[in-house]
Subunit: 345 residues, 2 copies
């Protein structure tokens, strides 16, 4: 058995005791880091995602710089949608844009069949290279967007605040919505299984924007397909199930599946875990904005989260969402050290 299998991160995914609370950070490879900015000066975003050598290098940057307990594949959740022919583009400084968004049942029916392996072969290659380069130092996490979050991009055409088009589509075009969610759950399953086959030792399902929904809409329009995505995954690989603003959705997300539930900072980790039950691991949940302050504040906020977790096996430390690009690197490094120091058992 390799070192990575006995890594604190993988042990915590399985709710087994660890000598320290493992930590990794969403968007740990990103603009806040000079090494990443140097890489981005040479490659446009989409080009970087599709360049396995460069993307693997970016995947490793935070392991080397920060000493985190897991690496996460450098990619984007929308890459897998590109072969659907919806006109995916990453506009510099604005984020993703879908030039031909889905606005009708006919748009959904007209989507072409996709060979996931062919579409995202570069991502699978990144996973292979990154896993090899990590050389069992820490495990490698793969990831995908969950069906709802992917569908919301396809329908809205880009980032959204209110998700009105998506919410209208769900109700007005119920069959097309179900057909779309069903197709996406299959794509997500194949995409993650491809990453697992290529070497990913855990996977995170990002349902980033699902927190826009009421609990009853979640159960009716989302949960069956999140569950289906997770059901399709290669057994034995831990699954982290994450969303933002999900305080009211956590019990329903737990029902949909996953070994680890990602919590954002809008819940208190201790009481939230108690309510969910300790038969699931949890990941989180520092407000990434705290990293913009100072080491004293970071230390206090970290202590409070660790106190909530009570050293119970099955807590993976993380932010409640990605690292903000304005964050000083030294504060991120300090957080990793503080978590290891304060949780040392």
């Amino acid at each position: 058995m390799s070192n990575a299998v006995a890594s604190p991160f993988l042990l915590a995914c399985r709710r087994q005791p660890t000598s320290v609370t493992p930590i990794w950070l969403m968007r740990q490879a990103g603009r806040y880091m000079p090494e990443y900015r140097a890489m981005r000066a040479r490659h446009r975003f989409l080009e970087l995602c599709k360049n396995p050598q460069a993307a693997a290098e970016v995947t490793l940057q935070p392991v080397e710089r920060l000493g985190v307990d897991a690496a996460i594949l450098f990619a984007d959740i929308l890459l897998v949608l590109e072969p659907l022919g919806v006109g995916l583009e990453f506009v510099e400084g604005e984020g993703p844009r879908i030039h031909r968004p889905l606005r009708s049942a006919a748009d959904v029916a007209a989507l072409p069949t996709v060979d996931v392996g062919e579409a995202v072969g570069a991502v699978f290659e990144t996973v292979k290279l990154a896993r090899k380069a990590l050389a069992e130092r820490v495990p490698l996490i793969g990831f995908a967007g969950a069906p709802f979050t992917l569908a919301s991009y396809l329908i809205e055409g880009g980032p959204s605040r209110e998700f009105l088009l998506t919410k209208r589509f769900m109700r007005a075009e119920r069959r097309a919505w179900e057909a779309l969610m069903s197709r996406l759950s299959i794509i997500v399953g194949e995409y993650l299984n491809g990453q697992i086959a290529a070497g990913a030792q855990a996977v995170q399902l990002f349902d980033s924007w699902v927190g826009t929904l009421s609990p009853s809409d979640y159960r009716e329009f989302v949960q069956p397909w999140s569950r289906e995505s997770i059901r399709r995954l290669t057994p034995g690989t831990p699954v982290i199930h994450f969303g933002v603003g999900t305080a009211g959705l956590l019990p329903s997300m737990k029902e949909a599946g996953g070994d680890v539930l990602g919590l954002d900072w809008r819940v208190e980790l201790g009481p939230a875990w108690d309510r969910l039950g300790h038969d699931i691991a949890v990941q989180g949940n520092l407000d990434p904005a705290v990293l913009l302050s100072n080491v004293g504040a970071i230390r206090r906020a970290t202590q409070s989260i660790l106190d909530g977790a009570k050293g119970r096996p099955g807590h993976i430390f993380n932010l409640g969402h990605g690292v903000h690009q304005e964050t000083p690197v030294e504060n991120v490094k300090a957080l990793v050290d503080i978590v290891h120091e304060l949780s040392s058992r």
Copy 2:
């Protein structure tokens, strides 16, 4: 005793039984309504807010068109900040802009003293005119922004997604933050008391953006000043305490005060009320996006919320946030009728 005092809305604020569940809607006077658009064609937004005759007319529009159980003053939460000299402007299609945002302790120290009565005399006049025009048909609700939400505009300079400047300021300039929140809690108290004196029969404290905070940050940086604002209010007037995305904050918001807690759609009303305790009334909580669908969907979603409330005294029906401008007026009217029909006891 006037009819309005025995109104379903005011009775529900005090958790007394009513023959139907009362309903009013946040942003019930707004762009979705032709009468409002006609008024806005003649007046710029800020000008409309400061024209008591026109603002009172807008306040009454939804009472006449929809048959809601309460009117809410037409104004903007930022009006009260104008005399602080921060350069408030409403940019057409973009929302509020503060041209000289607060970025340092010195900026806070330099804020002038404000005579609230002088600053927002026009608003108090609107309250008087609207109350008179309502002629006891339904009660009139006054409102103000809560200290955190006002502070976030002052610091960010406009609407924000992440509130990073505000969160940084709270920690980095702790004393200035407390001084600012303290001043705002006094201003909010005077502003709401002025509205009450002018005839408002209930008030809503909008802490719209407080849901961006972790529960521990809320308790440390916000709760004392929300409590202080509420403590300053003229006794006997019901207070509704509202925020968006507050699933994790509700117990702490209840502690801060108010007779009615506003819930957004991201929690289930029944279980949320059970957890809070039935010694507080609740208001909510339909997702405003449901109003973009059809009457069947509106009916089902309404039934589910009323089922959660179980006909218990102290439920005021509302949306979880304001009416979207894309909403068909007939759907809003249908919602009001459906709530009255389904809740008739």
